[in-house]
Amino acid sequence: MDTTLMLSGLVVGLIFGFVLQRGRFCMNSAFRDIIVMKEYTLLKAVALAIIVQMIGFHLMATMGYIQLNPKPLYWGAMIFGGFIFGIGMVLAAGCASGTTYRVGEGMMGSFVALLGLMIGGLITSGGALAWLDSDLKSGTFKVITTGDLGVDPGPLLKEGNTSLTLANVFGLDPWIFVVIIAIVILAVLIWKRGGEETKLEGTLYEKVLKMGWNWWVTGIAIGIVGIIAFLAFKSYALGISGGWFGFLNALIFGDPEKLNWFTFLVIGVVVGAAIAAVIAGEFKLRAPDAKRLLQQFIGGLIMGIGAVIGTACNIGHILSGIPQLALSSILGGAFIILGCWVTAYIMFMRG
């Protein structure tokens, strides 16, 4: 890997980590809180980040700065991998990005979950569970491409990418979907505004560096970081799990070639979150009891397995894939949310 690319991953990661910590941006909380606490604050941030990126990606692609690179539609793998990823993130008490930024806050439970995630990923990509991954991507479950449906991939996709998107499956201009989705989500956000804001009182310095950000600040900031990531890396926008898999792979095999752009990104996220937490007076080494640590480790392990089978974590699918209108990410994302809800219901809402 060339140094410029490594450095760009690190810098984007630093900013991403800072924003994640200040915005307390965690998709596990975002989706789980809807059903467990009727809380919509983080969900609003996620929705806003998605539309900022959707508009940004399509604008950059139309102007020729990037080419969209949606993931292939392995439908069986997206359903299964997404669903168990959703189960895992509730047990781990954080999604891939939430877990990563909380390591930077000094939360040992998240560190343990991260170890689980890396191990889970490795045994699925090349170890004991590799059979499951390949079974779920072949035969009945083989990939569905634009060629299978006899449609054109469309003008904005990377050369040779035959993944299905909302736009190319109908043979329509992607901007039709971008505009409609953006208007609908913005309308809902404006209609349902109020009530979720944290009442912030203080100087600008305190608002930015000492207190948690309001959801709309977080949403816009995450969206912009995603656009910067796509411009920097060119092949994709943000992702978390793949970076950690590369990290453990490089460590085990002593091979720096196994490090990838996302590895530098996630290292940047931990450091960026740690800087934000130290400034805010929120950095503290802490650990829950042993039972909870074990629960978080198992959760991480399941997330790792799910991320490899489903080909991405919540960030790769929901934050980066859905804005590219990828059917794979829409399906994977939907099942991540479903897995999260079923598990949250069983763990927190019965009795």
Binding site: E196, G212, G281
Partner: protein, 80 residues
Amino acid sequence: MSSKEKPTEVLDVRGEVCPYPDVKTQKKLKGMKSGEILEVLIDYPLSAERIPRSIEKQGHKVLKVEKKGTSEWSILIKIK
């Protein structure tokens, strides 16, 4: 702190992970009587901001959120 704000009960959820601080606070509130005061000791930033928000929506009164130290807060809640 005036005597009026003296907590009836204290709930220590320091060290707990998402969303246990919220879930345990809710459970504790259900077992308390109107007018009583609960103090929640917490070290998880997300919940320290989310608990006051959700508590107020339910009609309880958040008397005070005080930052006690590095990633440590005390939340005083008066039961409705």
